[in-house]
Symmetry: C2
Subunit: 424 residues, 2 copies
């Protein structure tokens, strides 16, 4: 018997299978979307009321895009999907036995199936001073804070006419895609935009340094692409230091393992991530980087009704990179798996398909490699990167705006998003 | 003898006539632009690093546009004008005798000519509770805070399933253009956007009330247009109360002079403004609303080298409305006047030309009246309003983005700018 509440359009039906999804990132959204036609009620829990298109965070930090361009309201995404509800809250506890998720606002959420898609947070690897003296780049707030910090340094220097002593210098720690993209974006911002905005400052004399612990940039790519990224960055004025783990960080000062010290008013931390603290709340086995250990069909051993996907999860037998594709494909798989189980059909293992990886180094240059072994770089790689990111951005509106902003940046070297949200 | 500094491109020439402009609003920008070819050095002082297109603030508050669409970096505006410098600071004192402007950051600014274009701030007219319990709509921060407050009410109601007791209700105090536009924008936001985002809340039952002290809305317009605005707002679900001065405001509670009380979780204060506190720093005669009294050529009596323009100034012999046109035309006039004086030519009085007034009431409807007596309303008025505002927005990029956003809103009734910047 289906119990229909008196006000059917305003009250969720309580007899349906309840799916709770923690996280509105790439993975969480795909789970909810994949359940559009399933006889389930989905609740997405996230601490923000918007989805963040993380691959373009560095563009917000370097004033190329505004927050709206890369963030999209979750309720808007599911406006036409009646079986999705949203809770704006932080998860405080997960009761696997009682099948409830506790949050900092509202009653606990009971579930029949739980999907943990909470992603990652910035990680300092225990290096002293990282938390106190660096700016991370994991959230929209981080990106806005970083942009404001950079612009405030310039306004301060303009006021005091003091552009020496590292006042405008930046060190980016971490030579993965985020660090490389950030360093490339900074070089453009400085040379093309801020040098014109602040003609009386010696912007050309400001140093942008990229520091990487390993021997090559973009460690997950073929060495030839890492080498290409280095050459491109160096040509654009970025000093690249590899094989140089960070030993400690103080105010305005990065000390490398060899003893070398780099001073800079702004230090960006893009050196690594670990699983969201939500992973620990489950009390289950965690793997490398604090990620939840999952089986071949992405469920948690001993808890068939709990799945973990994307960056927060790891299948030790087949570890995947912490980028968008595993989350997207994992989300689709879990949605299908939930439907299969409801229909009494057999489970299927997660068939991850590697579609390749990309990283942009700035205007006209990006690197990409595909499972076939094919590698792209330069303008061709950049165009491929551009098209792919536009296609994946949520919603037409954002896509159109991003296109307008990029076209404008490209044609004019101007960037309009350099609003200081707080006074220096 | 012209003294050229050793590094000519980085140091201002110190022998030139120094113009300090306080405020980067419509008036201040036009002064600086008008001096592009004059042998002067201009310094614009503003507490923000961006110009705010104030007529569209209500669009940010009602999630139709993002901050970037209506704010433009001042340094970007003057990128190609080498004689303009910018100081990001608040004015703390003006020394008319010593001809110096003191700010909260950096050395005092010496001037040969001072232009005060500091605009207005929200004013409570001494009504108890306004400062503590209402949200103003004068700055970009105000608009973002108002948008966040509105969205947070909905998220709270979604969590507690409590949408009664005024939790979603809004009272807008003030039936001038800002209040009318805000009420119209709110009605659209509620009915077209939030009702879909929160299908389980009784959004249709939420009350939006517009309260005006005088007998008609849009008091500066012809009564027929005020009446038309009232009918349009009422048809869209806004309760309009005229001849009802606000007596006092408490948390969630507006008490009108007649004793009537309206409860609402959100109270917007758009009832009036007074001159920026900068006006008082001059120690000269102030007129109605704390505005600096100026003569026929916009200079301050007894201080020929000091001009005041736009909302912060008043010529008692010819008071002008506090809208964009007097500021824009005043800025152009003062720039020309500075050049005339430098060239030893006679002063000219400010020849204000009334170009008419406009206010939008929401989708498809706006009112406009022109000095000829011609009045527009409905879709024709709205199209006129749309074109005018696009033309006046600073910079192509913003214009293109605004057009994309408006087109998207128009076609879909969606609004993407509803990002909660802080947690409820």
């Amino acid at each position: 018997v289906v119990v229909v509440a008196s006000s059917a359009d305003r009250t969720p039906r309580t007899d349906r299978h309840r799916v709770v999804v923690i996280g509105a990132g790439f993975g969480g959204l795909r789970v909810a979307r994949g359940l559009a036609d399933a006889p389930v009620d989905v609740t997405i829990v996230d601490a923000n009321n918007f989805h963040t298109f993380q691959p373009l965070l560095y563009q917000v930090a370097t004033a190329g895009l505004d927050t709206d361009d890369i963030a999209y309201p979750v309720r808007g995404i599911f406006r036409r999907q009646a079986n999705v509800d949203v809770r704006l809250a932080s998860v405080t506890a997960v009761d696997l036995d009682g099948r409830r998720v506790h949050t900092d606002r509202g009653e606990p959420l009971a579930y029949d199936t739980l999907v943990v898609a909470a992603g990652t947070v910035s990680h300092d690897f225990g290096i002293p001073g990282v938390a106190e003296h660096t700016l991370p780049l994991k959230t929209v707030s981080d990106a806005v804070a970083l942009r404001s910090a950079l612009l405030a340094r310039f306004e301060d220097a303009a006021l005091t006419a003091d552009d020496g002593g590292g006042a405008l210098d930046v060190v980016v720690c971490g030579g993965g895609p985020t660090g490389v993209e950030m360093a490339g974006g900074l070089a453009e911002l400085y040379q093309r935009v801020l040098a014109r905005d602040f003609p009386r400052l010696d912007v050309g004399g400001a140093r942008i340094t990229l520091v990487e612990a390993a021997g090559q940039l973009l460690g997950t790519f073929h060495p030839s692409l890492g080498e290409r990224a280095r050459r491109t960055l160096e040509r654009r004025g970025v000093e690249v230091i590899t094989s140089a783990p960070v030993a400690r960080i103080d105010e305005g000062r990065v000390e490398l393992a060899g003893g070398r010290v780099i001073t800079a008013a702004t230090i960006v931390w893009a050196a690594g991530v670990r699983a969201s603290p939500v992973a620990e709340l489950l009390g289950v086995e965690l793997g490398r980087g604090g990620r939840i250990v999952v089986g071949a069909d992405l469920d948690v051993p001993g808890h068939r009704e709990v799945f973990a996907i994307g960056d927060v999860a790891i299948d030790p037998a087949a570890p995947l990179p912490q980028v968008a594709q595993p989350a997207i494909q994992g989300g689709r798989h879990v949605a299908a798996e939930i439907v299969r189980r409801l229909e009494g059909r057999p489970s299927e293992p997660f068939p991850y398909r590697d579609k390749g990886s990309m990283a942009t180094i700035g205007r006209h240059d990006a690197v990409a490699e595909f499972p076939s072994g094919r590698r792209l770089h330069g303008i061709v790689g950049w165009l491929a990167w551009l098209v792919l990111h536009l296609v994946y951005l949520m919603g037409f509106r954002n896509r159109a705006n991003v296109l307008v902003n990029w076209a404008w940046n490209y044609l004019t070297y101007d960037r309009a998003s350099r609003l200081l949200s707080t006074r220096p």
